[in-house]
């Protein structure tokens, strides 16, 4: 449905998109992932014929964006980062206007407006001014606008940006519901969104495509063997981290123990298991039986977040999503 080859977009001084190539199959939901300023919006704008590429080709729904922009535009629905709504219009009036712009008319348009309004849960505000709507409603009106003419391809630029958690969930549900009928390319910098909604991920950084794979494969790539983070505290006086390390290494199924840090008599280790071995239970038991406190035990397996950071090479700017913390305080003996 979407074929992009060697796509490049240069501005006066910067290269926003640098020779990216990818393909999206019919009916797929593809997540377009990258930090802010990575070139996601630029790529989407090229695909929607808003910007011409400096180099390379993009083929959407069977037509080239440069040679046949009119045909491409008929077959795409686009939700830009800020929903392109007119505050002085009523919801129904607006959707009708967009429908006409996309070449619909008459009764079929009226029916479609009603249908889309219900599907995007904006039917209850259809005679309100868009300017008076909350951000969440406005976003949904934007989404309704994008699907009004039942396009083959939907391009959504950060569809959940600025929504509250409940609205985010509703919007994701809605997008998932749209898959199948439409081929969807959605951009985001929020990882769980991709994990939840998409089948395929394209990771882009500084204008370059750094990875493209299915969500499932990407996660597996990182989760071959289990990796556990443990923090151990000595109970009476100081405890030599080497002693702990030695003890942990003797547990069966452990392939490697990496000493991380020590402070205030607490030492942290990353323990890796052999492939397909579960070691957490043994690990906890070993620590407690040795008479130490087990302060923390959590999965250090790479989330998509870490894969993403690894691939894009950016520093962990925000705290990673709280990992499962199995804190087992050592019992008093």
């Amino acid at each position: 449905m979407i074929t992009v080859q060697g796509l490049t977009k240069r501005y006066a001084r910067t290269v926003a998109v640098d020779h990216i190539s990818f393909q999206v199959q019919k009916g797929q939901i593809v997540g377009f992932l990258g930090p802010n300023g990575a070139g996601k919006t630029t790529t989407m704008r090229i695909l929607t014929c808003f910007l011409p590429p400096s180099e390379g080709t993009a083929n959407v729904a069977g037509f080239d964006v440069l040679e046949n922009p009119m045909e491409v535009k008929k077959r795409i629905g686009y939700l830009p980062e800020t929903p392109p709504v007119y505050p002085e219009m009523e919801v129904r009036e607006y959707l009708t206007f967009v429908g006409k712009l996309k070449g619909m008319s008459g009764q079929s348009l009226a029916n479609r407006v009603t249908e889309v309004g219900e599907r995007c849960a904006v039917a209850d505000v259809q005679s309100k001014l868009i300017g008076k709507l909350s951000k969440g409603y406005r976003q949904r009106v934007g989404l309704a606008q994008a699907i009004i003419h039942n396009p083959d391809v939907l391009i959504l630029d950060e569809p959940t940006a600025g929504l509250d958690p409940k609205q985010i969930n509703e919007t994701r549900e809605l997008i998932r519901g749209l898959a199948g009928d439409h081929t969807i390319l959605l951009s985001t910098h929020i990882l769980p969104e991709v994990e939840q909604t998409c089948e395929q991920v394209l990771i882009i950084n500084k204008g370059k495509l750094v990875a493209t794979d299915s969500v499932h494969n990407l996660q597996n790539r990182a989760r071959g063997a289990e990796s556990v983070w443990v923090e151990v505290e000595g109970r009476d006086g100081s405890l030599d981290p080497k002693v702990i390390q030695g003890r942990l290494e003797r547990i069966s199924g452990v392939s490697r123990v990496i000493f991380k840090e020590t402070s205030n008599n607490r030492s942290s280790f990353e323990v890796e298991s052999l492939k397909d071995r579960v070691i957490r239970g043994d690990l906890a038991r070993a620590v407690v039986e040795a008479g130490w406190n087990l302060n923390e035990l959590r999965s250090a397996a790479m989330s998509l977040e870490e894969i993403f950071l690894q691939l894009t090479g950016t520093e962990l700017a925000v705290e990673a999503t709280p990992a499962v913390e199995a804190v087992a305080q050592g019992e008093e003996r």
Partner: protein
């Protein structure tokens, strides 16, 4: 053509759902009403005077009332045109709705003409208010309607040209105030250019004066369609719309 009308309708709706259209129409009606009242009052006084002197020569309503008033309207229009055009594209750019228009299966030129047409229609509605005043002249006097009709044609042509220039300026910025102020400046310059012809007879002054929108209106005010003047206005319309389409095109390369 259908798309032009869709865009035009949408623009007219947004003029008339916001206070913009009503404010402009009210202001214009008041200002023009004042001009009309003055003009008719002056005409009456002149009529009385000539009667008292006993030299009852025929005074033409067309020549003494309609013609100067039409010229006044063409100048008043200069002040209103920036307010009509300033939002056309600046607002779309600021709201991001330009992305919707530019990614819909609609040609740039259809968007531009639709918007320009809506502006022209709003201007024409303004002109309707002058017609209410002129109607009194027809009720109580006996003016010739043909020069008036030609005067209106001239006003629409002139406004068409300036509105096209205003539309172009509106594509250059996201800020309505800037678009409005710049359009106003250009309109004003196009008005006062003819002043140089008052004291200078060199070729450059003639060329400069030729570019003045007002000087081309004189023939229309007299009730004469001069091809030269009509061509000037039509060229201005084409130039304005052409520049707008170039500017929209460049928007795609710059954004």
């Amino acid at each position: 053509m259908r798309n032009v009308w869709i865009i035009c309708q949408k623009e007219l709706n947004s003029y008339f759902t916001s206070p913009v259209a009503y404010l402009l129409l009210t202001m214009f009606a008041l200002i023009f009403g004042f001009f009309f009242w003055n003009s008719v009052g002056y005409f009456n006084m002149m009529g009385l005077e000539s009667q008292m002197r006993g030299q009852a020569f025929p005074m033409s309503v067309n020549e003494y009332v309609i013609r100067p008033l039409l010229s006044n309207v063409s100048v008043i229009g200069l002040f209103f045109i920036p307010m009509i055009t300033m939002r056309l594209f600046a607002e779309e750019k600021r709201m991001g709705t330009i992305e919707l228009l530019a990614t819909s299966p609609v040609r740039d030129m259809e968007i531009i003409i639709g918007k320009w047409l809506a502006a022209l229609i709003l201007y024409a509605v303004m002109m309707l208010f002058t017609a209410i005043n002129f109607a009194f002249l027809f009720r109580y006097g006996n003016p010739d309607w043909k020069p008036l009709a030609i005067g209106y044609l001239g006003l629409l042509l002139q406004a068409g040209g300036l509105l096209a220039v205003g539309t172009f300026i509106s594509t250059l910025t996201k800020n309505q105030i800037i678009a409005g102020a710049a359009t106003f400046g250009v309109c004003l310059m196009l008005w006062v250019l003819e002043w140089v012809a008052g004291y200078e007879t060199a070729t450059w002054a003639k060329v400069l004066a030729y570019f003045s929108v007002i000087s081309h209106f004189e023939s229309f005010a007299k009730g004469v369609v001069d091809t030269k003047d009509a061509v000037y206005y039509l060229s201005l319309i084409f130039l304005g719309l052409f520049l707008t389409s170039r500017s929209m095109e460049s928007l795609r390369w710059r954004t």
